[in-house]
């Protein structure tokens, strides 16, 4: 048994180009932003296939709407995923590279699966018929295959990120598939109990986000739909959210009880951080309550209600991302403390990025505003 510490490279990188809090901030914010659309393909595609197969005309309509929006979701979701991945490589290089290299083929498999999964989504949505009719068999097959690929991709990501903090497993995973000290890149972190619980916990969370999105879509973009649909989709969203909360709760509990080390448990349950832990655990119930109360009024949701749900769900994802970041740092702290690295601040480049960020926000806002204004109605959100 090797000392895990002996596998951590602390020689390089040995400084940060921006303060640690800055890197952490963009990593967490970027992940929360990424998690919103990501949830829709992670849990949403297979759900949409089920809804379409159910034969219920309104469920079919909801499924059709979701899948019509899916290419956009994948485009922006993948794009937003770049942000946290960039900052994780800045702050956590010493653990990120070894973990992913040990599972190199699987990590690369994410890209290999993503391309057909993404095209599958386009293929499914290429159908121009605006009906509640069943989709053709091959189109359904494309959707199901995409959905499964996305779930597998989620599993591979969960592997990479759990292995990143599971330093104790590196040496045995390395030695199981090694050629003269080089890795064949065929490891998976499946012996880690936290892998399964966090993968499924994330799936539960993704179900809640999908439910929230169906309600948001009904209130914001689906105002042209018949009233019957808008009422139904609200009620359905409540039920689906409930299922999501149950899955999230069950696996979240398993994760935090069985997956966390004593140190992590002490900090997350028995220190001031318990506030964050409890908020993270209970926030989905808050959104459920909000959603339930709005739906129980017996009226379809409007744009304000929809925006409120969107914001609330984003807070859920943000809390989740922040807690995970905290746990990640705790799990690593025995071997690796990136927050202690010296900072060699790149003032000019940082300024360039922030300026571009503002400029980008203005340009994107302008384009959308002009388009919406000239259409005279809200964009239906489809490519």
């Amino acid at each position: 048994m090797m000392d895990p510490q002996s596998l951590v490279n602390t020689q390089y990188p040995n400084q940060l180009p921006a303060p640690f809090w800055f890197i952490e901030f963009f990593k967490v914010l970027g992940f929360a932003l990424h998690a919103f659309p990501m949830s829709l393909w992670y849990a949403g595609i297979l759900l949409a296939m089920g809804m379409s197969a159910s034969g219920h005309p309104l469920a079919r309509r909801a499924s059709w709407r979701l899948m019509r929006q899916m290419p956009l979701m994948v485009a922006y979701g993948v794009n937003l995923g770049i942000v946290p991945l960039l900052f994780v490589q800045v702050g956590y290089a010493a653990v990120f590279y070894p973990a992913t290299i040990l599972m190199a083929w699987f990590w690369l498999g994410i890209i290999v699966l993503l391309i057909p999964a993404y095209y599958g989504v386009y293929l499914y949505g290429a159908d121009q018929r605006q009906t509640d009719e069943p989709v053709s068999g091959w189109r359904m097959a494309a959707g199901v295959v995409s959905g499964i690929f996305f779930v597998v991709i989620g599993f591979l990501f969960a592997n990479g990120f759990s292995l990143m903090t599971n330093l104790g497993a590196w040496s045995s995973l390395w030695q199981q598939q090694e050629v003269a000290g080089a890795t064949l890149g065929l490891a998976l972190n499946t012996s880690d109990p936290t892998l399964w619980s966090r993968w499924l916990m994330m799936f539960g969370l993704a179900i809640t986000t999908t439910a929230a999105w169906l309600a948001i879509d009904g209130g914001l973009f689906g105002r042209g739909e018949p009233e019957a649909y808008r009422l139904w989709v609200g009620r359905f969203a409540v039920l689906l959210y409930l299922v999501g909360v149950a899955v999230f709760g069950a696996f979240g509990l398993w994760y935090s009880l069985a997956g966390w080390s004593v140190e992590v448990q002490t900090r997350m349950w028995y220190s001031g951080w318990v506030v964050l832990t409890v908020l993270t655990a209970l926030s989905p119930i808050g959104v459920l309550a909000l959603l339930g109360a709005l739906v129980l009024r017996g009226k379809p949701l409007g744009p304000w209600e929809a925006s409120a749900i969107g914001l609330a769900q984003f807070i859920v994802l943000l809390l989740n991302a922040a807690s995970r970041q905290l746990v990640q740092n705790l799990e690593l702290s025995a071997h690796f403390q990136p927050w202690q690295m010296p900072v060699a601040l790149q003032v000019g480049p940082l300024g360039m990025f922030l300026a571009a960020f503002v400029l980008g926000a203005v340009v994107v806002g302008w384009m959308i505003f002009q388009t919406v204004r000239s259409l005279g109605k809200v964009a239906p959100g489809e490519p």
Partner: protein, 462 residues
């Protein structure tokens, strides 16, 4: 060394980078040039009130988005994935140095994505001016992303003043920056015309529309070819001397250089006599041939751009075997196995008898049984050579390269790795390590082919 090494039998893991990168650039340049094509041509079609052309452009935009937004974008992420796996140290260096360049590029991706979806998604539903503006915003944002990534990739070939001052700007505006921006802009224009030709030839019958497209896209293609040539000359003029020398020293590269000139000339001539002088020639076969020659030239160019960096990954900063240039003296003194995080851990776990506390006692390596010495020699090979060489079979495999070599010759090569061949890094280990690497190489070196006359014993007069 800092990170575990990923062993991909026969191919070697860095070759995966080349593979993914070539797939990506063939689409990424179209993503830029195609943006200008759509912006310029839709403006032209609006101005001339050519509805037939506008309808074609809309169909083209659909093809364009399906190819660039999905395949182009994901393979781009794929390069990033692959370099992190197969070349982690330079990747970490690039990320540390240019994180804000990348973050800025990301902003332009968001602009591109939004502009593309609005431009295509609301085609025909927007005021003409707004539609055109969206097209132009897309084109410029895409070009900016090209400029940003070029600064970062060109840095590897020649970091320029960055080597002294480590400043982001010195690294970004490196000597190779402008030549490569010009060449890549040209590449974007040329390649996108070839895509347009292929698309229009395959999807449209012969007639006015095809002739129109053929004629209109010939100029940007020729302009692109000229820019590639100018940028290429600048690239060549500003190469570090070692990179220029690689081109004449390595036979493969010389052949590829010839190939690229021939291919580019063929594309140029075909463009000139075809679309430019004789509109109406464009058939699916002709467009297909042009396209194939074009992507062959492109792929070759990208491959050369990568290959001439040897022995460096980042010129004068990171060697091909994943170590910093400044590490060499220390590694030669204390040992290559000792200097690597994963190699030291390997030795400590397998051969505790050679450990002296936490570090390796190099002298004791030679006391190990021969089979263990060979094994450790193989470890050295993985971490010192496998970046550029497969073992017994495959990419630049050392087994065949050493065919018939004596032990003395092999050991001499190892100890003077960069003498005979400046495109290899210097030997970065102790004499003991050279000895055990030689023992390993001896086991994989192929024998001199049998049956060759005069036989060794017949060389001297009896």
């Amino acid at each position: 060394m800092h990170f575990p090494w990923w062993y991909v039998p026969e191919l070697t893991s860095p070759m995966l980078i080349a593979l993914v990168a070539i797939l990506h650039v063939l689409v990424a340049h179209y993503a830029v040039g195609g943006g200008f094509f759509l912006a310029v041509e839709s403006s032209f079609a609006y101005r001339t009130k050519d509805q037939e052309y506008l309808d074609y452009l809309k169909r083209h935009a659909r093809f364009f988005i399906l190819l660039t937004v999905v395949f182009g974008a994901i393979t781009g992420v794929g390069i990033w994935w692959t370099i992190g796996l197969a070349s982690p140290l330079p990747t970490a260096l690039l990320i540390q140095t240019f994180v804000f360049g990348w973050a800025t590029e990301w902003v332009f991706f968001v602009i591109e994505l939004t502009a593309a979806f609005l431009f295509y998604g609301f085609w025909g539903k927007l005021p003409v001016r707004l539609h055109q503006t969206l097209g132009w915003i897309y084109a410029w944002a895409a070009w900016m992303s090209l400029v940003l990534i070029t600064g970062i990739t060109a840095f590897m070939l020649h970091p320029g003043r960055w080597l002294e001052d480590q400043s982001f700007w010195s690294g970004f505006f490196n000597p190779q920056f402008w030549p490569q921006v010009v060449a890549r802009t040209g590449g974007a224009l040329l390649l996108s015309s070839l895509y347009v030709y292929l698309h229009v030839a395959v999807t449209e019958g012969q007639g006015r529309l095809r002739d129109l497209v053929e004629n209109r896209s010939a100029r940007p293609a020729l302009l692109g070819a000229i820019l590639i040539t100018l940028g290429g000359l600048g690239w060549f003029a500003l190469l570090p001397e070692s990179a220029r020398a690689v081109m004449s020293s390595a036979a493969v590269i010389t052949v590829l250089m010839m190939l690229i000139f021939v291919l580019t000339a063929v594309v140029f001539v075909l463009l000139y006599v075809g679309p430019y002088r004789n509109p109406g020639w464009l058939s699916p076969g002709f467009a297909g041939a042009l396209f194939l020659f074009g992507i062959a030239a492109f792929s070759t160019g990208e491959y050369i751009r990568e290959a001439v960096r040897k022995p460096y990954i980042v010129y004068n900063k990171v060697f091909g075997n994943q170590i910093f240039v400044e590490q060499v003296p220390e590694l030669r003194q204390n040992g290559y196995l000792e200097g690597g995080v994963w190699t030291r851990a390997y030795v400590a776990a397998r051969y505790p008898q050679v450990m002296n506390g936490r570090s390796i006692d190099e002298k004791k390596l030679l006391e190990l049984p021969q089979s263990d010495q060979v094994k450790l020699g193989e470890v050295l090979f993985q971490y010192h050579c496998n970046d550029c060489h497969a073992t017994t079979r495959g990419y630049s495999a050392v087994g065949p390269l050493l065919r018939g070599w004596s032990r003395e010759r092999i050991q001499h090569l190892v100890e003077h790795l960069d003498e005979g061949h400046f495109f290899m890094p210097p030997w970065c280990g102790t004499p003991e390590e050279a000895e055990i690497l030689t023992s390993y190489l001896e086991t994989i070196a192929l024998p001199r082919p049998a049956g060759m006359l005069p036989a060794r014993a017949q060389l001297e007069r009896p």
